[in-house]
């Protein structure tokens, strides 16, 4: 089988050229240039990108499960199709980003292996259960909403394949958020049971959504370097604030309350101030002790293991065809 990955240029470790090359690399970035997979890059840059991108891809894949949970029970044909299409888009997003990591020389097999053995991280938000239909709308509104804030920034990331994947993803995600909010609005204006259902969902998903932006900047070790390399362009706190400012008025527009007694508009800063995040809960969830961590991984592992004979069959079939045409 031919080498199917586009190889990244590997820098010689510790060589005297390194300092000069790094300086040149950082100058390119400072000028707003795009780094492509075959360009020289510091090993640390490559590693950070693989980490960020694979975590992002894993999140999309794992994210299919909490939403997929309600496909079979969707209460109207239109909602059924919208949700199925959304989950399908998420599979696609994972796929686009895994393609990006392939350009850095890391095969999808390897990344899937890391996810399934629990070595890789993915967004904490997907470790929460979807308990009611209203959760689906709220996820579109909050979780896709938060992702959009993050991804809009990443669409200008210095690494070409990642930035391009983000542009494609953002187009689709905007659509998901609108549909989620539309569902929330319908429930908020529906029967008393529906109102109660959606308010309850908001109460459960608000804080985990804020935690999606990661630890506060003072506790985030990677931030400074990533910003210098334009892989991140804004701090966690900045993005989190942006999300809050966008979302609070949307909640008020449908008469839903957010579960934060400290939420208050600051006339001078023109920002919505909000209460303290429970970082202990965050730590528990990202360490694997969230409500659904084990179930999510078990489901992915099962799909992967159950599918092994299928993947092998396709390969065997192709091999036979190659042998026939070579003969």
């Amino acid at each position: 089988m031919t080498d199917q990955k586009s190889p990244a240029s590997a820098p010689a470790a510790g060589s005297p050229d390194d300092a000069a090359r790094v300086a040149e690399f950082e100058a390119r970035i400072a000028q707003g240039e795009s780094i492509e997979s075959k360009d020289w890059m510091p090993e640390r840059y490559r590693k950070q990108l693989v980490r960020m991108m694979s975590q992002h891809a894993h999140s999309e894949i794992v994210g299919m499960l909490p939403e997929g949970n309600w496909i079979t029970r969707a209460p109207s044909l239109r909602r059924k199709m919208v949700l199925l299409a959304k989950v399908q888009d998420e599979a696609g997003h994972g796929l686009y980003i895994y393609c990006g990591t392939e350009t850095l020389g890391v095969g999808r097999e390897e990344l899937v292996d890391q996810l399934l053995t629990g070595k890789a991280k993915y967004s904490s938000i997907f470790n929460y259960p979807t308990l009611t239909w209203a959760d689906i709308g709220v996820i579109g509104w909050f979780v896709d909403g938060a992702a959009i804030v993050n991804q809009t920034m990443l669409a200008k990331a210095s690494f070409g394949p990642y930035a391009r994947a983000m542009v494609r993803i953002c187009k689709e995600e905007n659509f998901h958020k609108k549909q989620g909010y539309e569902s929330v609005a319908t429930l908020a204006n529906g029967t008393p049971e529906q109102r109660a259902m959606v308010q309850d969902a908001v109460n459960r998903w608000w804080w985990p959504s804020l935690m999606m932006f990661g630890p506060s900047d003072k506790d985030s070790p990677n931030s400074a370097e990533l910003i210098r390399w334009r892989v991140k362009r804004d701090t966690n706190d900045t993005l989190r604030q942006r999300f809050v400012d966008l979302t609070v008025p949307q909640a008020r527009a449908v008469n839903l309350t957010l579960p934060d007694p400290d939420l208050r508009y600051n006339e001078q800063t023109e920002h919505w101030e909000f209460g303290e995040i429970d970082w202990k809960e965050f730590q528990e969830v990202i360490s694997g002790n969230g409500p659904c961590n084990r179930e999510r991984l078990a489901a992915r592992r099962k799909a992967h293991e159950d599918g092994a004979w299928v993947r092998e069959a396709a390969e065997a079939y192709a091999a036979k065809r190659q042998a026939v045409s070579a003969a």
Partner: protein, 281 residues
């Protein structure tokens, strides 16, 4: 995978329904008064039930690309079902829209063939089931593009493009599984042997079909069997799979006699809508 054998009293009446010209027997009374409505339900329910079954794979397929592919087919089928149910509701004239028909009929009122309600099983069962259906579907839709009912003809034209693509996908998978590894071949053959008896129902015509054909908007399904056989046997040969023999053929879906699987499937599918009747979504 158990079929639904016709037993007990009522068997005679049921079989009489297959005789052209006789009053068609249905499990619910009154519905036969509108044969075209019945006919549309058959077309719609096949797609709704099969689309729903496929959607159960989402997030659990053997590889990402196939998650996307199966979801595509499911979406196409559910979309077709939605359009057909909407038309059916209009034909019935009692104010039922597509959601009312999808979520508030009991299993005994559904008109899909039993083949499509069977549980997904493993990937081989799902793919073989889909292939057998797709090969039939393309033939049915080709004829329906000439339906005298313009709306039906329009739906069929769009659905035909989708259906041809589904057949391309599932035929290729049947080849890959049949002529892949020893394990995939065994699973594919087992799936084929188990599902084959359920295909007979696709080609059984009754008075409802005859009425639809007479009105210019139906399909003589019995006439489709030879062409279907050709397409299917060709692919099976390429897949090194043995064509099962025709034997006892379970039937009844077209008149509301389903397997136990449909009831459980609908309990899942309809539970939320029925918990909030009349609520907007």
């Amino acid at each position: 995978m158990s079929g639904n054998r016709e037993q007990g009293t009522g068997n005679r009446d049921f079989n009489d329904g297959w005789v052209a010209g006789a009053r068609p027997a249905t499990a619910t009374s009154g519905v036969a008064a509108n044969p075209f409505f019945e006919y549309l339900l058959r077309l719609a329910d096949d797609r709704l039930v099969l689309g729903h079954r496929l959607s159960e794979w989402c997030g659990h397929a053997p590889i990402l690309e196939e998650d996307i592919a199966l979801a595509n087919i499911a979406l196409d089928l559910i979309g077709q079902a939605s359009m057909l149910l909407k038309l059916a509701g209009e034909v019935e004239g009692n104010g039922r829209n597509e959601d009312a028909l999808a979520y508030f009929r009991d299993a005994i009122e559904f008109r899909n063939a039993q083949l499509v309600e069977l549980p997904n099983g493993d990937f081989a069962v799902t793919i073989v089931r889909q292939f057998l259906f797709d090969a039939w579907d393309v033939l049915v839709l080709e004829r329906l593009t000439a339906a005298s009912n313009q709306v039906l003809a329009g739906i069929a034209a769009k659905a035909l493009k989708e259906s041809k693509y589904h057949l391309r996908h599932t035929a290729e998978w049947v080849r890959m599984l049949g002529d892949g590894t020893a394990e995939s071949h065994a699973r594919a053959q087992r799936a084929l042997d188990d599902l084959w008896p359920y295909t007979a129902e696709l080609f059984l015509g009754d008075a409802i079909d005859a009425a639809a054909v007479a009105s210019g908007s139906g399909v003589d399904v019995e006439a489709l069997r030879p062409r279907w056989g050709q397409t299917v046997e060709q692919v099976l040969a390429e897949a090194t799979l043995a064509v099962p023999k025709d034997g006892f053929a379970p039937r009844g879906g077209r008149t509301g006699r389903h397997t136990e699987h449909l009831g459980r499937m609908l309990a899942d599918m309809q539970s939320l809508a029925r918990a909030h009747p009349g609520a907007p979504w």
